[in-house]
C-alpha cells in the first residue's frame, strides 16, 4: 500500500489504518486546522490510506496563509523606510501584497531580515540604537508566547527603537466561523497539537458541546494524525461529541499556565480579518493599551492601509473546504510556488502549495 511499506514501523501505521477502516460505516468529513498537519497529510498521502468515506478538509490552519493582504501592504510600507530593520519569519517574505512582497522590498534595498525568534529582533534593537527595529508578529497561539515575552523584554529594557506589527490569529473562533457557514460540511476537527500545548483544550469544550462536533487535539507525525482521525471516527460513529487529546506527550487540558499569564498581560482579543475568509469576531490578539508604544502600525502610521485580495484567488473556498486547490482555475498555471497569486500557494503549509508539490500529477490523472 502506498507510503506504508516505506515505514519501518509499517505495522503500527497499518494497525491504525485498519482500525479506521473497521470503524467507518458512513461518510464523514473531518477538518484539520493546522498547516503542519495539512503538509504531513499530503506529503505522506495519509488521506489516500483512509476509507473512501472519509474526507479530510484542509482548514484555515496556516498563519502565513490567513494573514490579510492589507497587513502585508502595511509590512511592505514599513520595511521600505530607510531607518527600519524589518524582521520577519522566513515564510512571510514571499507572500504577495497588493503590489509587492517583502522579498521585493529587500531587493530594492530595504533592510529586511529573517529571524528565528522574536528575541533576535529585541537583541538587534539593543545592538542598533540608531535604527528602528520592527518585528512582524504573525502566528497562531503557538507563537504568541514568544512575541509576548519579546514585547515585555523590550519594555523592561526600555527599547524605544523596537516595535511589532502584530497580526496574531486564534484557532477556536476560526472553527466557529467554519461551523457557522451556511454550507458547512465539517463534522469533526483535528485541533492543532502545538496550539493546544500552549492553550490547553478547555476552550474547545463549549464548541464541541454547542455544535455537536468531536474535537481531538492531535500531533504532527503520520501516526499521530492517523490516531487522531481514528479517535474522531470513533466519536462520530458512536454519536459522541467531546474534546479528546491524542497528543498527550505535549498537551495538557489546562495548557501552559505561565505562558497564558504572559499572553494575558501583553495581548487583548480583537476582531481580525482573515485572508480569503473576511473578518471573524474576537479572532485575533493585539497589544494591550499599556504596550501601544510598541505598536508598529501606530508608530509608522500605516493602520489606514486597506486592500482587497485578487478576485481570481479562491483561497477562502479552499480554506473552508468548499473547493480543493486544483479546482482553482489559476492553480498550477497563473499561480505556482514560484509566482504565487494567493497566500496558500506560498507557505509549504498552505493547502495549494502542498497540493502543487505532492499531488499535481495524481490530480491531473484523476480529473
Amino acid at each position: 500500500m502506498k507510503f506504508i511499506d516505506e515505514y519501518r514501523d509499517a505495522a503500527q501505521v497499518k494497525r491504525w489504518v485498519d482500525s479506521i477502516h473497521r470503524k467507518t460505516t458512513r461518510p464523514w468529513n473531518l477538518m484539520e486546522v493546522c498547516g503542519g498537519q495539512t503538509n504531513a497529510i499530503i506529503r505522506f498521502g495519509l488521506d489516500t490510506l483512509l476509507p473512501p468515506e472519509i474526507r479530510l478538509i484542509h482548514g484555515p490552519g496556516c498563519p502565513v496563509c490567513v494573514t490579510p493582504i492589507e497587513m502585508i501592504d502595511q509590512a511592505v510600507a514599513i520595511a521600505a523606510r530607510p531607518e527600519v530593520i524589518f524582521c520577519s519569519f522566513g515564510d512571510m517574505l514571499r507572500v504577495p501584497g497588493s503590489e509587492k512582497d517583502l522579498l521585493t522590498v529587500k531587493s530594492e534595498g530595504g533592510d529586511v531580515r529573517v529571524v528565528y525568534s522574536p528575541m533576535d529582533a529585541v537583541a538587534l534593537a539593543g545592538a542598533h540604537p540608531d535604527r528602528q527595529i520592527v518585528f512582524f508578529a504573525i502566528g497562531f497561539e503557538t507563537t504568541a508566547p514568544a512575541v509576548a515575552m519579546a514585547i515585555a523584554q523590550a519594555d523592561r529594557l526600555d527599547l524605544a527603537n523596537f516595535s511589532a506589527l502584530v497580526s496574531h490569529v486564534l484557532v477556536p473562533p476560526a472553527i466557529r466561523a467554519v461551523l457557522g457557514s451556511p454550507d458547512n460540511i465539517v463534522q469533526a476537527f483535528l485541533a492543532a497539537g502545538h496550539v493546544c500545548a500552549v492553550m490547553g483544550t478547555r476552550q474547545y469544550e463549549p464548541i464541541a458541546k454547542e455544535c455537536g462536533v468531536p474535537i481531538v487535539a492531535t500531533g504532527f507525525e503520520p501516526l499521530d494524525i492517523l490516531q487522531g482521525v481514528a479517535m474522531c471516527i470513533d466519536q462520530l460513529e458512536h454519536g459522541r461529541a467531546e474534546v479528546e487529546i491524542q497528543y498527550t506527550r505535549c498537551v495538557q487540558a489546562e495548557g501552559n499556565p505561565v505562558a497564558l499569564a504572559q499572553i494575558a498581560k501583553v495581548f487583548r482579543t480583537v476582531s481580525r480579518k482573515w485572508r480569503g475568509i473576511g473578518p471573524i469576531p474576537e479572532s485575533g490578539w493585539a497589544l494591550r493599551p499599556e504596550y501601544t508604544r510598541f505598536d508598529a502600525a501606530l508608530r509608522f502610521e500605516v493602520e489606514g492601509i486597506r486592500a482587497e485580495e485578487p478576485a481570481v484567488c479562491i483561497a477562502g473556498a479552499v480554506l473552508q473546504g468548499h473547493k480543493r486547490p486544483h479546482e482553482c482555475p489559476a492553480f498550477g498555471t497563473e499561480c505556482t510556488p514560484e509566482r504565487p497569486l494567493g497566500a496558500p500557494m506560498v507557505s509549504t503549509e498552505g493547502a495549494c502549495a502542498a497540493y502543487y508539490r505532492y499531488r499535481r500529477r495524481a490530480e491531473e490523472k484523476e480529473s
Binding site: 507510503f3 516505506e6 515505514y7 519501518r8 514501523d9 493546522c34 498547516g35 503542519g36 505522506f44 496556516c62 498563519p63 502565513v64 519569519f89 515564510d91 528565528y116 525568534s117 522574536p118 528575541m119 533576535d120 504573525i138 502566528g139 497562531f140 503557538t142 507563537t143 508566547p145 514568544a146 515575552m149 523584554q153 523592561r156 529594557l157 492543532a192 502545538h194 496550539v195 500545548a197 500552549v198 504532527f220 507525525e221 503520520p222 501516526l223 498527550t248 506527550r249 505535549c250 495538557q252 501552559n256 505561565v258 505562558a259 504572559q262 507557505s347 503549509e349
Partner: protein, 86 residues
Amino acid sequence: MCLAVPGRVVEIYEKDGLPTGKVDFGGLAKEVCLAYTPEAQLDDYVLVHVGFALNTIDEAEAKEVFALLREVAEAEEQMRKDEEPS
C-alpha cells in the same frame, strides 16, 4: 510555522534576566528561552518553537518521536532512490 521541535536541555543559565538554556536537537545546540518551563531540569526534553520552550515532554515519548522522525527520513530517502531513473 507552528511546528515545534523536541530537544534536550544541556545547559541552564540566565540571560538578560530571563531563564535561558542550551537545547540539543540531535547534535545541534541552540539557545532557548526557558521562561515558560520553570520546571525544566538538565536532560529534560522540551518542545521548542521560535526560540521558546513551550512545554516539557516525557523523555520516553520524546525518544519515540525521534525514532519515528528517523524512520520517516529513511523512508523518504528510500522513496527518492526508488524515484531515481535507473
